[in-house]
């Protein structure tokens, strides 16, 4: 799917990769507030901005300030972005709904940590629902879920392209493991992403943008238009990985870091000739329901594995609704990692039990 020819290989942490990807995508403004496990991203950008006066950097007084600062900079034509996690992610939703309402490009990397509340600083997949739908509107945002460091790099670059091509918010939904782990990544020499242009002070015409309406039918008309547009964009950007699904009797559904563990389990069992497959959405919003259905054509059962209690599971079962006789098993471990062995064991049981 991604071509990373001509690249150079480096050993980096996930958080370092996020900064490199943003730079490769032409990002030139960052607004943020420290929170584990993403703080090194803010520090990394500060380090870059210290020597490069072309880069805007502001450590703000809180996450809403980071989000609204980002919005202001994006309105002014800067490829602006932020990063946060957990309770900071909650506060960041304040600005994200403005990005939805006024169609302002907005890029955020989220390093999911344990919840509820301050929870842990370590890891989870519990921020999926707020990333997808954490606003008070219809959720006009895209959510990308990288499963490993290389994909983190590629999807971060892509997030800027999507945000500016379609003028909407994009979350890259990573996690504490991905942020903190070190590994080899192939960096691009250059990446072409949609250029940023000023929305206000655009030299053409006066712009009056609002997020507040006085009449029901006024806002309903706007929402209808947005829904239509969103559907079109969704078709263009939807991505997923379907591994060995065409003849699979059991398909595991997983995303992000857990998707990597599931991939490993599926590969191992395939070597033994077991008919298992993996369906891993790369875009969590839009969620590729049609492809998900295709992936289970031959399956009698599915296993949903996630480090949360059914946030992803509900998405999966909703998208497979109407498929009769499909058995659903769940491996839900909120705020805890899932090993490939655990998935493998469950899959074995499901194959035997059939």
């Amino acid at each position: 799917m991604f071509s990373h020819a001509e690249g150079k290989i480096e050993l980096l942490t996930g958080n370092e990769i996020v900064v490199r990807a943003a730079l490769a995508a032409g990002a030139n403004a960052f607004f943020g507030y420290p929170i584990t496990p993403t703080t090194e991203i803010l520090q990394g950008w500060a380090q870059e901005a210290k020597d490069n006066k072309g880069l805007i950097y502001l450590q703000t007084e809180d996450e809403p300030a980071a989000g609204f600062g980002l919005l202001g900079a994006a309105l002014g034509g800067k490829k602006a972005w932020t990063t946060t996690a957990g309770a900071g992610h909650l506060l960041m939703q304040d600005a994200v709904v403005v990005a939805e309402a006024m169609r302002i490009p907005f890029v955020a990397y989220i390093g999911q940590r344990g919840g509820p509340s301050t929870g842990t600083v370590i890891y989870s997949q519990q921020e999926l629902s707020i990333a997808r739908d954490g606003g008070n509107g219809e959720g006009f945002r895209m959510v990308l879920g990288p499963s490993n460091l290389q994909e983190l790099y590629e999807l971060m670059i892509k997030s800027f392209d999507i945000a500016w091509r379609y003028r909407l918010p994009v979350f890259v939904l990573g996690d504490g493991y991905l942020s903190k782990m070190t590994g080899e990544v192939e960096l691009k020499k250059s990446a072409t992403t949609c250029p940023a242009k000023p929305i206000v002070q655009n030299g053409k015409k006066v712009v009056n943008l609002r997020n507040c309406y006085s009449l029901e039918d006024e806002i309903a008309t706007v929402i209808k238009e947005e829904l239509k547009d969103f559907g079109k964009i969704a078709k263009e950007i939807e991505m997923s990985e379907a591994l060995n699904c065409s003849d699979a009797e059991v398909v595991v559904f997983a995303w992000g870091t857990v998707g990597s563990a599931a991939r490993e389990a599926v590969r191992k069992l395939r070597k033994e000739g077991k008919k298992v497959g993996l369906f891993r959405p790369i875009t969590l919003k839009p969620f590729g329901a049609t492809r998900a259905k295709q992936a289970v054509r031959k399956a009698h059962s599915i296993l949903i594995a996630e480090s949360a209690f059914g946030k992803f599971g509900r998405l999966v079962t909703e998208s497979l609704f109407g498929l009769e006789g499909l058995k659903v098993e769940r491996l839900y471990k909120p705020a805890e990692g899932i090993l490939s062995e655990e998935i493998e064991d469950r899959l074995r049981g499901m194959l035997d039990g059939a």
Partner: protein, 236 residues
């Protein structure tokens, strides 16, 4: 003689949605004249908060954007960083500025962000029906401090409060809508200050006859009373 309407008014949006006798309209009218006189309408981004200020989203033929309640200062900070050559105006009410968004004001003031904040002080939350604000004076009757109950704190004096954290070249002042000459003078000085790279802040004591429940005479008297509580002038 001054023209009746500023050139930078958006004619299609007039008459505006502000109530008759509202101090917002007077503030904006004078701001319009200032933008005309300084010839900055094309190079200005006007950012509104949520409160009755939101009604100004299409008031001017000037680039205008809207934030959330209290967040306009943070948005202005981002706008100015991206557009250092443009004039960035953040327009808000006293609830937005002094309650939910106070730390954004402090942040911008401490950083000496070269923006101009225009804060309309009508001593209450007008848009939501006249509840108590940080500017409500002791014993003031609002919809959430009936007959003055609960209004037992000293009102927040915004520019005086911000002064100690501001750069020495920052401009902070308080004026009132019944003195258009001074209002324009301070707005101009604030924008000049922004152009020189410093933070500027103008609090405007403003009428809200609807929530004050005052007639014309009562509105004037209310304003006179406000001027006893809130010192007019440049805050040094």
């Amino acid at each position: 003689m001054e023209p009746r309407m500023p050139k930078c008014y958006k004619k299609e949006s007039k008459p505006s949605s502000f109530c008759p006798g509202c101090g917002h309209s007077l503030t904006l009218k004078n701001l319009g004249f200032v933008m005309d006189e300084m010839k900055i309408a094309d190079s200005t981004v006007f950012a509104t908060d949520i409160g009755c200020s939101l009604l100004a989203w299409d008031f001017f033929d000037v680039d205008t954007v809207q934030a959330h309640h209290g967040r306009v200062t943070a948005m202005a900070a981002g706008l100015k960083r991206a557009l250092p050559k443009s004039v960035v105006l953040a327009y808000m009410g006293d609830g937005g500025g002094y309650a939910i968004g106070l730390h954004h004001l402090i942040g911008a003031a401490r950083r000496n962000d070269p923006i101009t904040v225009i804060l309309v002080n009508n001593t209450l939350y007008a848009m939501t029906g006249g509840q108590m604000a940080p500017t409500t004076f002791k014993g003031e009757n609002t919809s959430s401090s009936p007959e003055g109950a609960f209004a037992d704190e000293e009102p927040l004096l915004g520019p005086e409060f911000l002064r100690p954290v501001c750069h020495k070249e920052a401009f902070l002042a308080r004026t009132s809508v019944d003195n258009p000459f001074e209002l324009k003078k301070y707005l101009k000085e604030a924008i000049e200050t922004q152009k020189k790279g410093n933070f500027s802040f103008v609090e405007v004591l403003s009428y809200c006859p609807v929530n004050w429940k005052t007639d014309a005479r009562g509105t004037m008297d209310f304003m006179d009373h406000l001027k006893e509580i809130y010192k007019i002038g440049v805050i040094e």
